[in-house]
Amino acid sequence: WSPDMMAARFLRRALPALRQARSYAEAASGAPQMSFTFASPTQVFFKEASVKQVDVPTLTGAFGILPAHVPTLQVLRPGVVTVFSDDGSSAKYFVSSGSVTVNADSSVQLLAEEAVPLDQLDIAAAKANLEKAQSELAGTSDEATRAEVQISIEANEAIVKALE
Protein backbone atom coordinates (compact mmCIF):
# COMPACT_ATOMS: atom_id res chain seq x y z
CA TRP A 1 0.00 0.00 0.00
CA SER A 2 2.78 2.42 -0.80
CA PRO A 3 2.16 5.91 -2.13
CA ASP A 4 3.81 4.94 -5.41
CA MET A 5 1.21 2.29 -6.02
CA MET A 6 -1.54 4.80 -5.42
CA ALA A 7 0.14 7.31 -7.71
CA ALA A 8 0.26 4.65 -10.40
CA ARG A 9 -3.39 3.87 -9.91
CA PHE A 10 -4.39 7.56 -10.24
CA LEU A 11 -2.24 7.84 -13.29
CA ARG A 12 -4.03 4.91 -14.85
CA ARG A 13 -7.41 6.38 -14.07
CA ALA A 14 -6.47 9.89 -15.14
CA LEU A 15 -5.16 8.84 -18.52
CA PRO A 16 -7.25 5.89 -19.58
CA ALA A 17 -5.90 6.15 -23.09
CA LEU A 18 -2.42 5.41 -21.95
CA ARG A 19 -2.11 1.68 -21.67
CA GLN A 20 1.12 1.53 -19.78
CA ALA A 21 1.36 3.75 -16.72
CA ARG A 22 4.64 4.86 -15.41
CA SER A 23 5.38 4.99 -11.73
CA TYR A 24 8.40 5.86 -9.69
CA ALA A 25 10.58 3.07 -8.52
CA GLU A 26 10.50 2.38 -4.80
CA ALA A 27 13.23 3.89 -2.71
CA ALA A 28 16.21 1.61 -2.26
CA SER A 29 14.98 -0.76 0.42
CA GLY A 30 17.20 -2.22 3.09
CA ALA A 31 18.65 1.04 4.41
CA PRO A 32 16.97 0.53 7.73
CA GLN A 33 16.98 3.21 10.37
CA MET A 34 19.42 2.78 13.19
CA SER A 35 17.63 2.27 16.49
CA PHE A 36 20.18 3.77 18.85
CA THR A 37 20.05 3.23 22.59
CA PHE A 38 22.71 4.94 24.72
CA ALA A 39 22.44 4.55 28.49
CA SER A 40 24.38 4.43 31.71
CA PRO A 41 23.08 2.65 34.83
CA THR A 42 21.57 5.89 36.13
CA GLN A 43 20.70 7.84 33.02
CA VAL A 44 19.34 7.27 29.56
CA PHE A 45 20.69 9.56 26.83
CA PHE A 46 19.11 8.03 23.75
CA LYS A 47 16.40 5.43 23.67
CA GLU A 48 15.73 3.72 20.33
CA ALA A 49 16.44 7.00 18.61
CA SER A 50 17.10 7.33 14.94
CA VAL A 51 20.49 8.92 14.36
CA LYS A 52 22.80 9.22 11.42
CA GLN A 53 26.13 8.16 12.84
CA VAL A 54 27.81 7.32 16.12
CA ASP A 55 31.56 7.40 16.74
CA VAL A 56 32.72 5.13 19.54
CA PRO A 57 36.16 4.59 21.11
CA THR A 58 36.81 0.87 21.57
CA LEU A 59 39.70 -1.25 22.77
CA THR A 60 40.54 -2.08 19.15
CA GLY A 61 40.30 1.52 17.96
CA ALA A 62 37.70 4.17 17.28
CA PHE A 63 35.13 3.56 14.62
CA GLY A 64 31.94 5.10 13.36
CA ILE A 65 28.66 3.24 13.16
CA LEU A 66 26.13 4.03 10.46
CA PRO A 67 22.82 2.32 9.75
CA ALA A 68 23.32 -1.15 8.25
CA HIS A 69 26.74 -1.49 9.87
CA VAL A 70 27.93 -5.08 10.03
CA PRO A 71 26.86 -6.72 13.33
CA THR A 72 29.58 -6.64 15.95
CA LEU A 73 30.31 -6.59 19.66
CA GLN A 74 32.91 -4.28 21.11
CA VAL A 75 34.19 -3.16 24.47
CA LEU A 76 34.67 0.57 25.08
CA ARG A 77 37.74 2.36 26.39
CA PRO A 78 37.72 5.78 28.10
CA GLY A 79 37.06 8.32 25.41
CA VAL A 80 34.57 10.48 23.59
CA VAL A 81 31.39 9.23 21.96
CA THR A 82 30.03 11.52 19.26
CA VAL A 83 26.44 11.18 18.14
CA PHE A 84 25.48 12.77 14.81
CA SER A 85 21.73 13.10 14.64
CA ASP A 86 19.60 13.22 11.51
CA ASP A 87 19.49 17.01 11.41
CA GLY A 88 23.27 17.27 11.33
CA SER A 89 23.93 18.39 14.90
CA SER A 90 26.34 16.41 17.00
CA ALA A 91 26.54 15.73 20.70
CA LYS A 92 29.64 14.58 22.55
CA TYR A 93 29.81 12.47 25.67
CA PHE A 94 32.72 11.14 27.66
CA VAL A 95 32.41 7.45 28.55
CA SER A 96 34.55 5.59 31.04
CA SER A 97 34.01 2.06 29.76
CA GLY A 98 31.27 -0.23 28.64
CA SER A 99 30.12 -2.19 25.63
CA VAL A 100 28.57 -1.58 22.25
CA THR A 101 26.44 -4.03 20.31
CA VAL A 102 25.44 -3.67 16.68
CA ASN A 103 22.76 -6.19 15.73
CA ALA A 104 21.69 -7.49 12.36
CA ASP A 105 18.52 -5.40 12.39
CA SER A 106 20.62 -2.25 12.66
CA SER A 107 19.86 -1.64 16.32
CA VAL A 108 22.76 -0.33 18.36
CA GLN A 109 23.02 -0.64 22.12
CA LEU A 110 25.73 1.51 23.66
CA LEU A 111 25.99 0.76 27.37
CA ALA A 112 28.44 2.88 29.31
CA GLU A 113 29.40 2.34 32.89
CA GLU A 114 29.64 6.09 33.38
CA ALA A 115 28.85 8.71 30.79
CA VAL A 116 28.69 12.49 31.00
CA PRO A 117 28.19 15.19 28.39
CA LEU A 118 31.56 16.75 27.67
CA ASP A 119 30.60 20.21 28.86
CA GLN A 120 30.12 18.90 32.38
CA LEU A 121 33.80 18.01 32.73
CA ASP A 122 36.35 20.41 34.20
CA ILE A 123 39.75 20.32 32.49
CA ALA A 124 41.60 21.75 35.48
CA ALA A 125 40.31 19.03 37.79
CA ALA A 126 41.17 16.40 35.17
CA LYS A 127 44.76 17.63 34.90
CA ALA A 128 45.12 17.68 38.66
CA ASN A 129 43.80 14.10 38.90
CA LEU A 130 46.15 13.02 36.13
CA GLU A 131 49.21 14.39 37.92
CA LYS A 132 48.13 12.80 41.17
CA ALA A 133 47.64 9.43 39.48
CA GLN A 134 51.02 9.63 37.74
CA SER A 135 52.79 10.34 40.99
CA GLU A 136 50.94 7.45 42.63
CA LEU A 137 52.11 5.11 39.89
CA ALA A 138 55.70 5.84 40.79
CA GLY A 139 54.98 5.02 44.41
CA THR A 140 53.06 1.73 44.28
CA SER A 141 54.39 -1.74 43.63
CA ASP A 142 51.37 -3.94 44.33
CA GLU A 143 49.94 -5.43 41.10
CA ALA A 144 46.32 -4.70 41.78
CA THR A 145 46.85 -1.10 42.88
CA ARG A 146 49.19 -0.53 39.93
CA ALA A 147 46.45 -1.68 37.58
CA GLU A 148 43.94 0.61 39.24
CA VAL A 149 46.26 3.59 39.05
CA GLN A 150 47.01 2.87 35.40
CA ILE A 151 43.29 2.76 34.65
CA SER A 152 42.92 6.10 36.40
CA ILE A 153 45.80 7.55 34.36
CA GLU A 154 44.31 6.31 31.10
CA ALA A 155 40.90 7.73 31.93
CA ASN A 156 42.27 11.11 33.00
CA GLU A 157 44.50 11.33 29.93
CA ALA A 158 41.50 10.67 27.74
CA ILE A 159 39.48 13.35 29.53
CA VAL A 160 42.26 15.91 29.13
CA LYS A 161 42.66 15.01 25.46
CA ALA A 162 38.93 15.28 24.89
CA LEU A 163 38.65 18.66 26.51
CA GLU A 164 41.57 20.27 24.73
Binding site: T37, A39, S40, P41, T42, Q43, V44, K47, L59, T60, V70, P71, T72, L73, Q74, V75, S97, G98, S99, T101, N103, A104, D105, S107, Q109, L111, E113
Partner: protein, 293 residues
Protein backbone atom coordinates in the same frame (compact mmCIF):
# COMPACT_ATOMS: atom_id res chain seq x y z
CA UNK B 1 0.61 -11.62 63.75
CA UNK B 2 -2.16 -10.21 65.88
CA UNK B 3 -3.28 -13.63 67.08
CA UNK B 4 0.15 -14.03 68.60
CA UNK B 5 -0.15 -10.69 70.32
CA UNK B 6 -3.43 -11.70 71.86
CA UNK B 7 -1.85 -14.86 73.21
CA UNK B 8 0.62 -12.73 75.13
CA UNK B 9 -1.99 -10.61 76.85
CA UNK B 10 -4.84 -13.06 77.13
CA UNK B 11 -3.66 -16.58 77.79
CA UNK B 12 -6.73 -18.74 77.18
CA UNK B 13 -7.23 -21.11 80.13
CA UNK B 14 -7.95 -24.49 78.68
CA UNK B 15 -10.22 -26.71 80.74
CA UNK B 16 -11.51 -23.79 82.78
CA UNK B 17 -14.33 -21.40 82.21
CA UNK B 18 -12.93 -18.27 80.62
CA UNK B 19 -13.60 -15.21 82.75
CA UNK B 20 -15.28 -12.14 81.37
CA UNK B 21 -12.51 -9.81 80.26
CA UNK B 22 -11.96 -7.12 82.85
CA UNK B 23 -11.67 -3.47 81.92
CA UNK B 24 -7.98 -3.57 82.74
CA UNK B 25 -7.32 -6.41 80.28
CA UNK B 26 -9.13 -4.65 77.47
CA UNK B 27 -7.30 -1.40 78.18
CA UNK B 28 -3.93 -3.12 78.02
CA UNK B 29 -4.81 -4.84 74.77
CA UNK B 30 -6.17 -1.64 73.24
CA UNK B 31 -3.04 0.26 74.10
CA UNK B 32 -0.78 -2.37 72.56
CA UNK B 33 -2.77 -2.51 69.32
CA UNK B 34 -2.72 1.27 69.05
CA UNK B 35 1.06 1.20 69.32
CA UNK B 36 1.26 -1.45 66.65
CA UNK B 37 -0.91 0.66 64.39
CA UNK B 38 1.39 3.65 64.82
CA UNK B 39 4.39 1.54 63.92
CA UNK B 40 2.82 -0.02 60.83
CA UNK B 41 1.61 3.38 59.66
CA UNK B 42 5.06 4.88 59.91
CA UNK B 43 6.60 1.86 58.18
CA UNK B 44 4.13 2.38 55.37
CA UNK B 45 5.19 6.03 55.02
CA UNK B 46 8.85 5.11 54.93
CA UNK B 47 8.21 2.38 52.38
CA UNK B 48 6.17 4.79 50.25
CA UNK B 49 9.01 7.32 50.18
CA UNK B 50 11.58 4.65 49.34
CA UNK B 51 9.30 3.21 46.69
CA UNK B 52 8.88 6.58 44.97
CA UNK B 53 12.63 6.98 44.72
CA UNK B 54 13.20 3.39 43.63
CA UNK B 55 10.61 3.65 40.88
CA UNK B 56 12.18 6.83 39.56
CA UNK B 57 15.58 5.17 39.39
CA UNK B 58 14.12 2.05 37.87
CA UNK B 59 13.24 3.73 34.57
CA UNK B 60 16.77 4.30 33.28
CA UNK B 61 17.93 1.05 34.86
CA UNK B 62 15.31 -0.84 32.86
CA UNK B 63 16.42 0.66 29.55
CA UNK B 64 20.01 -0.13 30.48
CA UNK B 65 19.37 -3.68 31.66
CA UNK B 66 17.06 -4.63 28.82
CA UNK B 67 19.58 -3.38 26.29
CA UNK B 68 22.14 -5.62 27.92
CA UNK B 69 20.08 -8.75 27.26
CA UNK B 70 19.11 -7.54 23.79
CA UNK B 71 22.03 -9.44 22.28
CA UNK B 72 20.83 -12.75 23.71
CA UNK B 73 17.35 -12.18 22.43
CA UNK B 74 18.25 -10.88 18.97
CA UNK B 75 20.88 -13.51 18.32
CA UNK B 76 18.55 -16.08 19.84
CA UNK B 77 21.26 -17.69 21.90
CA UNK B 78 20.36 -20.98 23.52
CA UNK B 79 22.48 -23.43 25.41
CA UNK B 80 22.79 -26.92 23.88
CA UNK B 81 20.01 -28.95 25.45
CA UNK B 82 21.56 -32.37 25.63
CA UNK B 83 24.83 -31.63 27.38
CA UNK B 84 24.76 -32.27 31.12
CA UNK B 85 25.86 -28.77 31.88
CA UNK B 86 26.52 -26.81 35.01
CA UNK B 87 23.80 -24.43 36.01
CA UNK B 88 23.87 -21.30 38.06
CA UNK B 89 20.93 -19.63 39.77
CA UNK B 90 21.21 -16.15 41.24
CA UNK B 91 18.30 -15.38 43.54
CA UNK B 92 17.78 -11.70 44.30
CA UNK B 93 15.75 -10.54 47.29
CA UNK B 94 16.87 -8.62 50.38
CA UNK B 95 17.57 -8.79 54.10
CA UNK B 96 14.38 -7.43 55.57
CA UNK B 97 10.95 -8.93 55.94
CA UNK B 98 7.43 -7.60 56.42
CA UNK B 99 7.03 -7.26 52.68
CA UNK B 100 4.46 -9.85 51.78
CA UNK B 101 5.37 -12.81 49.59
CA UNK B 102 8.52 -11.29 48.04
CA UNK B 103 11.08 -13.67 49.50
CA UNK B 104 8.94 -16.79 49.46
CA UNK B 105 8.06 -16.28 45.79
CA UNK B 106 11.69 -16.27 44.72
CA UNK B 107 12.53 -19.17 47.04
CA UNK B 108 9.68 -21.24 45.62
CA UNK B 109 10.84 -20.65 42.04
CA UNK B 110 14.41 -21.53 42.97
CA UNK B 111 13.35 -24.73 44.70
CA UNK B 112 11.29 -25.89 41.72
CA UNK B 113 14.15 -25.02 39.34
CA UNK B 114 16.60 -27.01 41.43
CA UNK B 115 14.20 -29.94 41.45
CA UNK B 116 13.82 -29.81 37.65
CA UNK B 117 17.53 -29.51 36.97
CA UNK B 118 18.71 -32.17 39.39
CA UNK B 119 15.98 -34.39 38.00
CA UNK B 120 17.51 -33.93 34.55
CA UNK B 121 20.91 -34.78 35.94
CA UNK B 122 22.50 -31.33 35.81
CA UNK B 123 24.60 -29.71 38.47
CA UNK B 124 23.13 -26.58 40.05
CA UNK B 125 24.65 -23.98 42.32
CA UNK B 126 22.82 -21.05 43.86
CA UNK B 127 23.94 -17.58 44.81
CA UNK B 128 21.79 -15.85 47.43
CA UNK B 129 21.64 -12.09 47.26
CA UNK B 130 19.87 -11.23 50.48
CA UNK B 131 19.82 -12.82 53.89
CA UNK B 132 16.17 -13.79 53.81
CA UNK B 133 16.75 -16.09 50.88
CA UNK B 134 19.60 -17.78 52.72
CA UNK B 135 17.25 -18.40 55.62
CA UNK B 136 14.66 -19.95 53.35
CA UNK B 137 17.03 -22.17 51.39
CA UNK B 138 19.87 -23.25 53.61
CA UNK B 139 17.99 -25.86 55.55
CA UNK B 140 16.69 -27.88 52.63
CA UNK B 141 19.05 -26.95 49.78
CA UNK B 142 22.15 -26.06 51.73
CA UNK B 143 24.49 -28.09 49.56
CA UNK B 144 23.55 -26.13 46.47
CA UNK B 145 24.39 -22.75 47.97
CA UNK B 146 27.62 -21.26 46.72
CA UNK B 147 27.61 -17.65 47.87
CA UNK B 148 25.61 -15.49 50.28
CA UNK B 149 25.33 -11.73 50.10
CA UNK B 150 24.28 -9.67 53.09
CA UNK B 151 23.44 -6.00 53.71
CA UNK B 152 21.13 -5.91 50.72
CA UNK B 153 18.14 -3.62 50.78
CA UNK B 154 19.29 -1.10 53.33
CA UNK B 155 20.29 1.44 50.68
CA UNK B 156 19.19 1.66 47.05
CA UNK B 157 21.27 -0.76 44.94
CA UNK B 158 24.08 0.69 42.87
CA UNK B 159 26.11 -0.49 39.93
CA UNK B 160 28.98 -1.05 42.34
CA UNK B 161 26.93 -3.58 44.32
CA UNK B 162 26.14 -5.54 41.18
CA UNK B 163 29.79 -5.54 40.19
CA UNK B 164 30.81 -6.87 43.62
CA UNK B 165 28.44 -9.82 43.21
CA UNK B 166 29.72 -10.48 39.70
CA UNK B 167 33.36 -10.26 40.79
CA UNK B 168 32.81 -12.77 43.59
CA UNK B 169 31.05 -15.09 41.16
CA UNK B 170 33.87 -14.92 38.63
CA UNK B 171 36.51 -15.35 41.34
CA UNK B 172 34.78 -18.40 42.75
CA UNK B 173 35.84 -20.37 39.73
CA UNK B 174 32.50 -22.04 39.13
CA UNK B 175 32.46 -22.61 35.37
CA UNK B 176 28.79 -22.55 34.65
CA UNK B 177 27.42 -23.12 31.14
CA UNK B 178 24.18 -21.34 31.57
CA UNK B 179 22.04 -19.96 34.32
CA UNK B 180 19.36 -17.52 35.28
CA UNK B 181 18.79 -14.62 37.59
CA UNK B 182 15.52 -14.96 39.53
CA UNK B 183 14.03 -11.76 40.87
CA UNK B 184 10.73 -9.98 41.34
CA UNK B 185 9.90 -7.85 38.36
CA UNK B 186 8.01 -4.69 39.20
CA UNK B 187 4.71 -4.33 37.34
CA UNK B 188 2.76 -1.74 39.30
CA UNK B 189 2.29 -0.44 42.83
CA UNK B 190 0.10 -3.34 43.73
CA UNK B 191 1.58 -6.08 41.58
CA UNK B 192 4.93 -7.69 40.90
CA UNK B 193 5.86 -10.98 39.29
CA UNK B 194 8.69 -13.43 39.85
CA UNK B 195 10.73 -13.41 36.67
CA UNK B 196 13.91 -14.87 35.20
CA UNK B 197 16.61 -13.51 32.97
CA UNK B 198 19.03 -15.91 31.27
CA UNK B 199 22.80 -16.00 31.69
CA UNK B 200 25.18 -17.73 29.33
CA UNK B 201 28.85 -18.54 29.55
CA UNK B 202 31.34 -17.16 27.06
CA UNK B 203 31.75 -20.61 25.48
CA UNK B 204 28.05 -21.11 24.89
CA UNK B 205 27.76 -17.65 23.35
CA UNK B 206 30.70 -18.06 21.00
CA UNK B 207 29.54 -21.49 19.87
CA UNK B 208 25.99 -20.41 19.29
CA UNK B 209 24.97 -20.57 15.64
CA UNK B 210 23.88 -16.98 15.12
CA UNK B 211 27.10 -15.55 16.48
CA UNK B 212 28.70 -16.03 13.09
CA UNK B 213 27.02 -12.93 11.76
CA UNK B 214 28.82 -10.81 14.33
CA UNK B 215 31.95 -9.55 12.72
CA UNK B 216 35.36 -10.64 13.81
CA UNK B 217 35.19 -10.96 17.59
CA UNK B 218 38.25 -11.66 19.74
CA UNK B 219 37.94 -14.16 22.53
CA UNK B 220 39.22 -11.42 24.82
CA UNK B 221 36.66 -8.87 23.68
CA UNK B 222 33.89 -11.43 24.04
CA UNK B 223 34.96 -12.31 27.57
CA UNK B 224 35.03 -8.65 28.60
CA UNK B 225 31.68 -8.12 26.96
CA UNK B 226 30.19 -11.11 28.77
CA UNK B 227 31.48 -9.99 32.15
CA UNK B 228 30.02 -6.53 31.61
CA UNK B 229 26.69 -8.02 30.52
CA UNK B 230 26.66 -10.18 33.65
CA UNK B 231 26.98 -7.12 35.88
CA UNK B 232 24.28 -5.33 33.92
CA UNK B 233 21.80 -8.17 34.32
CA UNK B 234 22.47 -8.41 38.05
CA UNK B 235 22.07 -4.63 38.32
CA UNK B 236 18.69 -4.74 36.58
CA UNK B 237 17.54 -7.57 38.86
CA UNK B 238 18.62 -5.63 41.96
CA UNK B 239 16.77 -2.51 40.92
CA UNK B 240 13.56 -4.31 39.94
CA UNK B 241 13.66 -6.38 43.11
CA UNK B 242 14.15 -3.33 45.31
CA UNK B 243 11.21 -1.48 43.73
CA UNK B 244 8.93 -4.53 44.06
CA UNK B 245 9.99 -5.00 47.65
CA UNK B 246 9.23 -1.42 48.68
CA UNK B 247 5.85 -1.46 46.98
CA UNK B 248 5.00 -4.81 48.57
CA UNK B 249 6.05 -3.54 51.99
CA UNK B 250 3.88 -0.47 51.50
CA UNK B 251 0.83 -2.62 50.70
CA UNK B 252 1.54 -5.06 53.54
CA UNK B 253 1.92 -2.31 56.13
CA UNK B 254 -1.16 -0.57 54.79
CA UNK B 255 -3.33 -3.64 55.26
CA UNK B 256 -1.75 -4.24 58.67
CA UNK B 257 -2.72 -0.72 59.75
CA UNK B 258 -6.24 -1.25 58.44
CA UNK B 259 -6.56 -4.51 60.36
CA UNK B 260 -5.29 -2.80 63.47
CA UNK B 261 -7.89 -0.01 63.08
CA UNK B 262 -10.61 -2.61 62.73
CA UNK B 263 -9.48 -4.37 65.88
CA UNK B 264 -9.31 -1.06 67.71
CA UNK B 265 -12.90 -0.27 66.73
CA UNK B 266 -14.14 -3.65 67.85
CA UNK B 267 -12.23 -3.50 71.10
CA UNK B 268 -13.47 0.01 71.83
CA UNK B 269 -17.04 -1.19 71.47
CA UNK B 270 -16.35 -4.14 73.77
CA UNK B 271 -14.66 -1.76 76.20
CA UNK B 272 -17.70 0.51 76.31
CA UNK B 273 -20.08 -2.38 76.77
CA UNK B 274 -17.95 -3.80 79.54
CA UNK B 275 -17.75 -0.41 81.20
CA UNK B 276 -21.53 -0.06 81.10
CA UNK B 277 -21.92 -3.60 82.46
CA UNK B 278 -19.62 -2.79 85.37
CA UNK B 279 -21.55 0.40 86.16
CA UNK B 280 -24.86 -1.44 85.97
CA UNK B 281 -23.55 -4.14 88.30
CA UNK B 282 -22.43 -1.57 90.85
CA UNK B 283 -25.77 0.19 90.64
CA UNK B 284 -27.64 -3.07 91.18
CA UNK B 285 -25.52 -3.84 94.21
CA UNK B 286 -26.15 -0.42 95.65
CA UNK B 287 -29.86 -0.51 94.99
CA UNK B 288 -30.41 -4.02 96.30
CA UNK B 289 -28.28 -3.13 99.30
CA UNK B 290 -30.44 -0.07 99.90
CA UNK B 291 -33.61 -2.08 99.34
CA UNK B 292 -32.49 -4.54 101.98
CA UNK B 293 -32.39 -1.80 104.60
Amino acid sequence: MFARTSALVFSPQCGQVRNMATLKDITIRLKSIKNIQKITKSMKMVAAAKYARAERQLKPARVYGNSAVALYEKADIKAPEDKAGKHLIIGVTSDRGLCGAIHSGVAKTIKSEIANLTGAGKEVMVINVGDKLRGLLHRTHGKHIMLNCKEVGRKPPSFGDASIVATELLNSGYEFDQGSVIFNRFRSVISYKTDQKPLFSTDVVSNSENMGIYDDIDADVLRNYQEFALVNIIYLALRESSTSEQSARMTAMDSASKNASEMIDKLTLTFNRTRQAVITKELIEIISGAAAL
